[in-house]
């Protein structure tokens, strides 16, 4: 509970509201959205803003607002899945690598180095290409492409913790290897993995959209912002709102995630105080002493 309160304090109300909004429409959007996102009505195709269809309809007469809401669901669902998969697998690899060390660590970290040195989208694209374009294959590909980041992160934490006195004493007390790893090292790694994941969600959302935009991720008719945008591109001249709205939704969501990540990073290691602030603080301090 305290952790959540601290997090809230660090992040602040506007960002919480922004992200909460997207999570809300992703979870409850089904019940809130006025139309079925996939229901076509060719009689009402390509309409602009109206009371009936707030954001208009696309070329097949599907309600844009409902599709935007469904897109939030797709994106957040994908992001969550990828983070869960990449985070847990990365933590297992990182913990093993950091705990055992030696040649195993060396080999694993060389592979991880490669994963980190090549852009994730390139790796994900190749994996999707091998397995075929599909939502689940995209999730799998992104998860594989994202594992190295978390493995490296977890390994750093675990390798630093392994030689700490408290792990030494656990070993002396006769705690088994499994117990040390599961009860003492994993929780230590979990913290930094979670923090990084929250900052990483924005990048992931962008990459899900990238792959779907290229026709390699979410397949029509399922609504996803990148895929909606690419479907609307041919009508850019007549109906620019069909391109602008999904793009804007994605941008705002990613801004939310990035602000969240920045706030968390700042709370974890605060920026060194600027000179002006320092002088101000010193003056206040001197005043207090004088009083």
């Amino acid at each position: 509970m305290k952790a959540i309160k601290d997090l809230y304090k660090a992040v602040g109300l506007p960002i919480c509201f922004l992200i909460g909004f997207f999570i809300f429409i992703a979870v409850f959007g089904k019940y809130v959205s006025p139309y079925d996102p996939n229901a076509q009505n060719l009689l009402k195709a390509s309409q602009t803003f109206s009371a009936e269809h707030w954001f208009g309809t696309d070329n097949l007469g599907r309600d844009t607002l409902s599709r935007l809401v469904a897109g939030a669901r797709t994106t957040l669902f994908g992001v969550t899945l990828v983070l869960l998969m990449a985070g847990s697998v990365g933590m297992v690899i990182g913990t093993i690598s950091g705990y055992f060390g030696g040649w195993l660590d060396e080999i694993l970290m060389r592979i991880i180095d490669f994963g980190l040195s090549v852009p994730s989208l390139v790796v994900a694209l190749a994996i999707v290409g091998v397995f075929g374009p599909d939502f689940w294959n995209m999730i799998l590909a992104l998860a594989i492409a994202w594992v190295p980041i978390y493995a490296r992160l977890a390994r750093g934490v675990v390798a630093a913790a392994v030689n700490q006195p408290y792990i030494e004493s656990l070993r002396v007390l006769g705690a088994s290897r499994t117990r040390i790893i599961v009860k003492h090292l994993t929780p230590a790694a979990l913290g930094s993995v979670l923090i990084y994941a929250s900052a990483d969600a924005g990048v992931l959302a962008l990459n899900i959209a990238n792959l779907s935009f290229l026709g390699l991720g979410v397949q029509p008719p399922q609504a996803e912002w990148g895929q909606m945008l690419v479907a609307a591109l041919p009508y850019l001249e007549e109906a620019p709102r069909l391109v602008i709205l999904p793009g804007l939704s994605l941008t705002i969501m990613v801004i939310g995630f990035n602000l969240l990540g920045e706030a968390i990073a700042l709370a974890k290691n605060p920026r060194p105080m600027s000179k002006r602030r320092l002088f101000q603080r010193r003056r206040e301090f001197l005043k207090e002493i004088a009083a």
Binding site: F114, V123, A126, N210, F213, L214, L229, P240, L248, I255
Partner: protein, 312 residues
């Protein structure tokens, strides 16, 4: 200095080897019968005899290690195999498609450098002014804008509303402008932030105070004293962003209908064109590793402080 350079080159070489193994395994681990898939893609009736023939041709029945050896030997000789879909040699296709990608990355690099340096310089010239605040406000927004959305908006603004620039195809210098902006704008904003911070740091050094006490103007100090100091930092950031542009090209090329390597990669992924996929993954990885290596080495050459530290 040479030892450090060799060290970097060695680790880059290791990465290239891992890249080749990864590219190979990815396709070797293809789920299902590759021979049957290839036979199917060639069209016609797929009998066991045809499948056997394909397997023989692609040496699919040999042990994995041998196949890796054959593949590496071929690649080193410049033979990347043939596209399953078109039957075209992958190496000639890549050669043909290299030009648009290189033009896009070069154009993006120029845009990035101009945007980054102009913004950061104006920010440093009038600290706390409009440009300065703009850079800071943009910091989060620019990494959050999807590349394809930015490109679509550029097409809409310059192609549809103003009808100024061509938005489709790779046809002469005017058609290069929009893609270059689309790919270079966000890295430019990132670069401006890095350059602004290091300019500020350079402006708080003692030599700047000396120059001020001599009565030189702020612009002159910025250009002649502070600017040389930020070269290594800007170079590193520039190189890293340039390397990431290789990735952005994958997304931006299809929007502008450019037939570059990025579009080639995407097409291969769409049609499960395994040899092309393999070659593209290897090519992109190696390009990325090389650009990073070159940047690392350049920084050593450019930065006298690092050079001295290494010699000492």
């Amino acid at each position: 200095m040479l030892r450090i350079a060799l060290n970097r080159a060695m680790s880059a070489l290791v990465l290239v080897v891992i890249a080749s193994v990864f590219s190979f395994i990815l396709v070797a681990a293809f789920p299902g019968n590759v021979a049957a898939l290839i036979a199917e893609l060639r069209g016609g009736f797929v009998s066991q005899a045809v499948v056997d023939k394909v397997a023989e041709e692609y040496r699919l029945r040999d042990p994995l290690l041998y196949r890796y050896g054959y593949w590496v030997a071929d690649v080193v000789h410049g033979d990347f195999g043939k596209s399953l879909r078109t039957g075209e040699e992958v190496s000639t296709a890549i050669e043909k498609r290299l030009e648009p990608t290189l033009v896009m990355i070069a154009g993006g690099g120029i845009v990035m450098l101009v945007v980054g340096l102009v913004l950061s310089f104006c920010g440093a010239l009038w600290p706390g002014g409009l440009v300065d605040r703009f850079i800071r406000a943009l910091a989060v927004v620019n990494i959050s804008v999807p590349k394809f959305f930015l490109a679509a908006m550029l097409i809409y603004a310059f192609g549809v509303i103003m009808n100024l620039l061509p938005t489709f195809g790779f046809r002469g210098p005017t058609s290069w402008i929009l893609p270059s902006i689309a790919i270079g704008l966000v890295p430019g904003a990132l670069l401006s932030r890095v350059a602004r911070v290091s300019l500020e740091e350079a402006m708080s050094r003692p030599f700047v105070i000396t120059a001020m006490s001599k009565g030189f103007g702020r612009r002159r100090i910025l250009l002649r004293d502070a600017l040389p100091n930020i070269v290594p930092v800007v170079l590193t950031a520039f190189g890293m962003n340039l390397a990431f542009m290789i990735q952005s090209a994958i997304v931006i090329e299809p929007i502008f209908a450019w037939q570059g390597i990025g579009a080639y990669f995407v097409d291969a992924a769409r049609f499960r064109d395994l040899p092309v996929l393999q070659s593209c993954l290897l090519l992109f990885s190696v390009l990325f590793i090389i650009v990073n290596l070159v940047v690392d080495l350049l920084v050593i050459v450019v930065d006298p402080l690092q050079r001295r530290a290494m010699r000492g």
